[in-house]
Every structure is written in structure tokens, then in C-alpha cells.
Amino acid sequence: MSAVMSNPLFREPLSIAGATREIEFRDAVREAMCEEMRRDKRVYLLGEEVAQYDGAYKVSKGMLAEFGAGRVVDTPISESGFSGMAIGSAMLGLRPIVEFMSWSFALVAADPILNNAPKMLYMSGGQFGCPIVFRGNDGAGGQLGSTHSWSVEGLFSNVPGVKIVIPSTPADAKGLMKTAIRDDDPVFFMESERLLSMKGHVPEAEYLIPFGHAAIRRAGKDCTLCSWGRPVHFCMEAAEILAKEGIDCEVIDLRTIRPLDLPTVIASVRKTSAAVVVDQSWSFASPGSELAAQIHRHCFDDLDNFVHRVHSDDVPTPYAVALEQEYLPNVRKICEAVRSATYRA
């Protein structure tokens, strides 16, 4: 972690000595946006219900009052249009934050967010960059049915030219969002509706968390659990259960999946000789399958077993509560995978 600490902007929120306070995940995202909008007039927020309504999930609460309608811009339900508009404005030098009420709705904006934003720099031969943040809820919420429950990282992480951030705690959400806004490249920032009300300690002082720096949430010697976003919490729960069975798990929170902090994962697997990847997207051609392939390649001689993977089930997200819980990469599935990977099944 020395490289991280050498950055004066970065302070590890979980180990920081300075004062913290407990705030919700949504407050942390808002603080990051507000601080960066105060710092840089080029930054503005747009999306459905972000201004007068205070945000469908209250992430942007109060921002209209502080920054005015010129910088907190309500849009119609028109994802393709306002995404393209934001990209055009970024080509001319602005730094938009685009809120998708849900990343599931970003599918109708697939052309601008996949064909324009990540490729503009390349296709223009370096002339036009696209410093833009797309953010919103990702993953299954609470019984929203299949169309509203996408984990879009399964689709979008296949595309070169975007950075993808999936924070799991309020402190990470703030530090990573500030980095996302300052980044010169397009960033997809994925929040979980299920985490928005989660409270956590967030430093009072300013800090940024760089991309590609995984956090080791729990140290252990028997099995490496790799995850990002909401399932990190499932991993922590599973690790507690498994500890009582004598299996000591190391839980790595990747924080960003592009870039992917492979060195931290490799170092851990070389120690534990076992790995389980937990990914909320579907299994086929997913970030989880990519990470598993990378671990197999780099830790071939270190592994005692193949890398096990836990995903959402390979079916549309069901509505019924029990079915939805079974569908998710839940604690039971994680425990089973770890027992199998460590030959304790």
C-alpha cells in the first residue's frame, strides 16, 4: 500500500486517524459531487429527477438549491438523448456527471455510452477526450423484476475505453467518486440501491481513492474471496461463518473492475492457494470469468484447486422474494464454493 500512501490526496479511509462521522452511502456520493462542483465549474449534474425532485433516490438532495438549475439539470426520460448531449458537452471541455436512475435504463443509451464515450479519443486520433461520469443504481434492488435488475458490468466491462467503479462502502463511494470526476477518461460508476441507506464512517478531511487499488477487507490464510460492490458484504458474512468452521478467508474488495488490481489478488492467492470469485452479474463472459481466467494464468502453480465462481443464477431476475434471494450470489452459495475450493465440502 506504500504507493497509495505516497499520493498526498489519498488517505485510506478505513485506517485514517483523523476525525470521521457516520453518513449514508447516498450522502457520501453527494458530498463528492458537491465538493468537486465547488472546485470546478466545468462539472455539472444532469439526469431524470436530479434537481427539483432531489433525485429519485435522494442522492442529489439539495444540490439544486446550492448550484442552481444551470448546473443541476433535470432531463426528460430520454436516456439516449441526454447521454449523447452530455458526451457532446464533454468533447467541448465540460465534465458532466450523468445520473441514470437505474443502470438498467442505460441500455436504451447503449449507442452513446458504448459507441461514443469510450471511442471518441481513439477515433479522433487523440483530439477529443471524453471526461464524463455515468452513475446510478446497478444490480438487483428489492423485487424489481427482471428489467430493472441489471448488473450491467457484465455487458459493459467488455468494452475498452471505460473505467468501471463499483464501490461497497460510503467511504469508498466518496473517495472513488471524487477520483472519477477528476479523471480525464469516461467512468461508469455503479451504486447499489440496496446500499444507498447503509451508514459508514467517512473522513471529515478531503481524500481521494485511486482506481485499481483493491482493499483487503479481511486478512486470512486459507482462501481468497474476490468481489466488488454489494456482494463484498455477503463475502464478509460468509467469512464469519467459515471462520467458525476453521476456514480462514481473505476478502479482497476490488473497488474497480477496470482497471483491475491483479497484483493484490495474485499476492493473496499465492498465500492462500485457493480462490473464489463472487460477482453479481451473470456468469457467462463476465468480469468474474475474466478475473478467474487471470488468476488461473498467473497463479497456475500456486492453486490447489480451480478457481470457483459465484454469480447470480443464469436466468432473468425473478420477482418473488425467496426466488430473488436464491438467485443472488448469496452467503450460502459463497460458503459452499469456499468449502469446495478448500476441499472441506
Binding site: A3, V4, F10, K41, R42, Y44, G70, R71, V73, T75, P76, S78, S80, G81, F82, S83, G84, M85, A86, I87, G88, S89, A90, M91, L92, G93, L94, D111, P112, N115, N116, M120, L121, Y122, M123, S124, G125, G126, Q127, F128, G129, P160, G161, K163, T179, R182, D183, D184, D185, V187, P210, F211, G212, H213, P259, L260, D261, L262, P263, Q294
Partner: protein, 379 residues
């Protein structure tokens, strides 16, 4: 044919000649139109010789549109267009060299050979692409207008009052993104003009086969409260005069507009199009209304052009394009070192950062902030 409402047509220095501009300017337009024509003819030859690959859509027949529209704008007004973009690039001031080298996939091309025919970008001349997906550029054009207005109102407190042009073909009017773009432009009072280059065909589909109310495409903008103009795109003087009035109205009022720009492409949709969907008689009829010949007649009758002047102009144009081809041929094929460049501004992992093309000086693009903090080994 032109139906733009007042303000009055500007006249500048042409006196009794009834030209809306000075003879020098009108001759420059003729030269620009000839340059585009010659460039496109030579592109077709180079394509046959397999020097140019991929898709190639030439602008022959529509030269008056790009030249007249660009003339009606200020240089700082942003422009974005679709894939039939060579004419817009040249009209905006891109050199024939950079444009042809891009066609040839060479490192001296405007996009270092990474964009190709459909993706001409020129930052110094405020050309924001060439875009290959039909209609996708229309929200981008709205974004350019949003940014110029934002710069005035939030950042500078200035009054640059730039107007953005978003070109599209008549085939793009049935894409949803176009309607979303128009709606946003009307809602947010953005100074953007959607210019539908209505050449009557989306690829091989005649307009009435794909578009309702195709006799008047301005109807598509009426639901969004856009200012309207139908303009004869085969006459550069009409294009300039009517666009000038419209651009200044948009600038003054910070409002959007739509233009049904009636024109005709003399060649096929792309290089592989045998044009079975239209008759040779129809083509001959439109070719008799060649915008270049029309301007030549006008200038000749006005006493501004004679055969000797025209011959001298054509000689220079042909030399310029011949030289551009020689330049493109001699330019280095884009090297492998460019493969991982310009994916991200920030260098990280296998990505090597970004640099500007040679025509902009070739300097490294400044990365203002290292998001990854320089960490090694990332994938």
C-alpha cells in the same frame, strides 16, 4: 423554394452583381466546391485501386450544402456531422493532405488513420466528427450547443453566443435519438441547427418508402417548437443566404432550428452501390442541376468568372489533390505503437496515454490527473 422567415438577407460588397457576398468570397466557394468534387473523384479512383478500404461515401452533388453552411457560420461555431463527411471537413478548412492521409490509413491523417472515411475530426477547425452510426451525432450536436451556452452562462459570464450545426441525412430522421435531440434542444433553449441533407434516399430506400410526411421534413421539428427552413441545397447562394439568416436568428434567440435541405447525391450511397433503386433518367435530370455549374453560370453572368480564370482555378485544385494523394502515399502506415495509444488519456497498464495528430503538432496529450496513481500491473 427557400422559405426562411426574416430577418432580411444580408448583402456585402457585391453591389450590382446581386451576389450576397464579395466576388472574392464567391470565387472561393467555387474553388472549395471544385476541391471537394475533385477530392471525391480521386477518392473513388483510390478506392478502386484498393488504396482506401472500408466504407467510402462520397459527397458529389451535395457540395453546395457544406460550403454554403460553413460560410454562414463563424469559425468558432462547432459542427458535427454523419459519415458522408469529407466535404464538411474540407469546407471547414481541413487540409486535403490530412483528409486524404486519413482515407489511406496513414499516421499523418487527421485521426492518425484510426478513424477512416466516416470519422473525420478537426479540433482547430471546430469539427467534432464524422460519426458512423446514423443519427448518433444529433445528441452530440445538442451537447455542443449545451456546452457553448454553459460556457457563457456558468463559466465565463461571456457572450460568445456560438451556434452549433448538426448535420444528418434524411435517413436519420427515423432514428429515435434525433427526436430526443430535438426535444432536448427545445426544452433547454439551445442554439443548434439540425440540417437534414435530404438527398431523397437512405441508402437504397427512397424517402417516401421510409418516412411519413416526407414532402416536408420540417414537420419533424414542429412538435418540438423548432424554427424551420426549407432550403435549395443545390444552390450555394441560397444555402448561404438562408442559412446566414437562420444562424443569426438562432444566435440572437438561443433557440434551435431544423432545415430541410433539398439536395441530391450524384453517386451511389457508397462505393459498392449499383443504384438499382433509381433510374438513369432521374439521375440525369438532377445532374443537369449541378451546383457547381450553377455557380459558374452565375459568376460568369455577373462578370466575375471567365474561362481563363476557371481553368486556372481547376489547375490549382487538381494539383492540390494530386499532391494530397502523393502525400498520403508517402506517409507512414500508422505504426503498431499507436494501437494502445488514445484508448485512455491516462497512461496505465498496457495503455500508453494519448498524443495529438501530426497536423496539430503531435504533442503528448496532457493527463491532468492520474486516476490510477501510477500503480503498476493493472489490467
Amino acid at each position: 423554394m427557400s422559405q426562411v422567415a426574416p430577418p432580411a438577407v444580408p448583402t456585402a460588397g457585391a453591389g450590382a452583381l446581386s451576389l450576397p457576398v464579395s466576388p472574392t468570397t464567391a470565387l472561393q466557394w467555387l474553388r472549395d466546391m471544385h476541391l471537394i468534387r475533385e477530392f471525391e473523384v480521386r477518392c473513388m479512383q483510390s478506392y478502386q485501386e484498393k488504396k482506401i478500404g472500408g466504407f467510402c461515401h462520397v459527397y458529389i452533388g451535395q457540395e453546395a450544402v457544406a460550403v454554403g453552411c460553413v460560410a454562414a457560420m463563424r469559425p468558432e461555431d462547432p459542427i458535427v456531422t454523419a459519415y458522408r463527411d469529407h466535404g464538411h471537413a474540407l469546407a471547414r478548412g481541413m487540409t486535403s493532405r490530412a483528409c486524404m492521409a486519413e482515407m489511406y490509413g496513414r499516421v499523418d491523417g487527421c485521426a492518425k488513420g484510426k478513424g477512416g472515411s466516416m470519422h473525420m475530426f478537426d479540433r482547430p477547425n471546430n469539427l467534432f466528427g464524422g460519426h458512423g452510426i446514423v443519427g448518433a451525432q444529433t445528441p452530440l450536436g445538442v451537447g455542443l450547443a449545451f456546452a457553448t451556452k454553459y460556457e457563457d452562462e456558468v463559466i465565463n459570464g461571456g457572450k460568445s453566443r456560438r451556434v452549433s450545426l448538426s448535420f444528418l441525412g434524411d435517413g436519420a430522421v427515423n432514428q429515435g435519438s434525433f427526436y430526443e435531440a430535438m426535444n432536448l434542444s427545445g426544452l433547454l433553449d439551445l442554439p443548434v441547427i439540425f440540417i437534414i441533407e435530404n438527398n431523397g434516399y437512405s441508402m437504397g430506400t427512397a424517402i417516401q418508402r421510409g418516412t411519413t410526411m416526407s414532402h416536408d421534413l420540417c414537420i419533424k421539428g414542429r412538435a418540438h417548437g423548432l424554427r424551420e427552413a426549407t432550403i435549395d441545397g443545390m444552390d450555394v447562394l441560397s444555402v448561404y443566404r438562408d442559412m446566414k439568416a437562420l444562424v443569426e436568428w438562432c444566435r440572437e434567440n438561443s433557440r434551435p432550428a431544423i432545415v430541410d435541405m433539398k439536395c441530391y447525391r450524384f453517386k451511389g450511397h457508397s462505393m459498392s452501390d449499383p443504384r438499382k433503386y433509381r433510374t438513369r433518367e432521374e439521375e440525369a435530370h438532377h445532374e443537369s442541376n449541378d451546383p457547381i455549374i450553377t455557380l459558374e453560370h452565375t459568376l460568369t453572368h455577373a462578370g466575375v468568372l471567365d474561362e481563363a480564370k476557371l481553368a486556372a482555378m481547376l489547375k490549382l485544385v487538381r494539383e492540390e489533390v494530386r499532391e494530397a494523394i502523393a502525400f498520403a502515399n508517402a506517409s507512414e502506415v500508422t505504426p503498431e505503437t499507436e494501437l494502445y495509444k488514445d484508448v485512455f488519456v491516462e497512461p496505465w497498464g498496457k495503455y500508453t496515454g494519448s498524443s495529438l495528430p501530426e497536423f496539430m503538432g503531435g504533442a503528448t496529450n496532457a493527463c491532468t490527473f492520474r486516476a490510477t496513481d501510477g500503480k503498476e500491473g493493472l489490467v
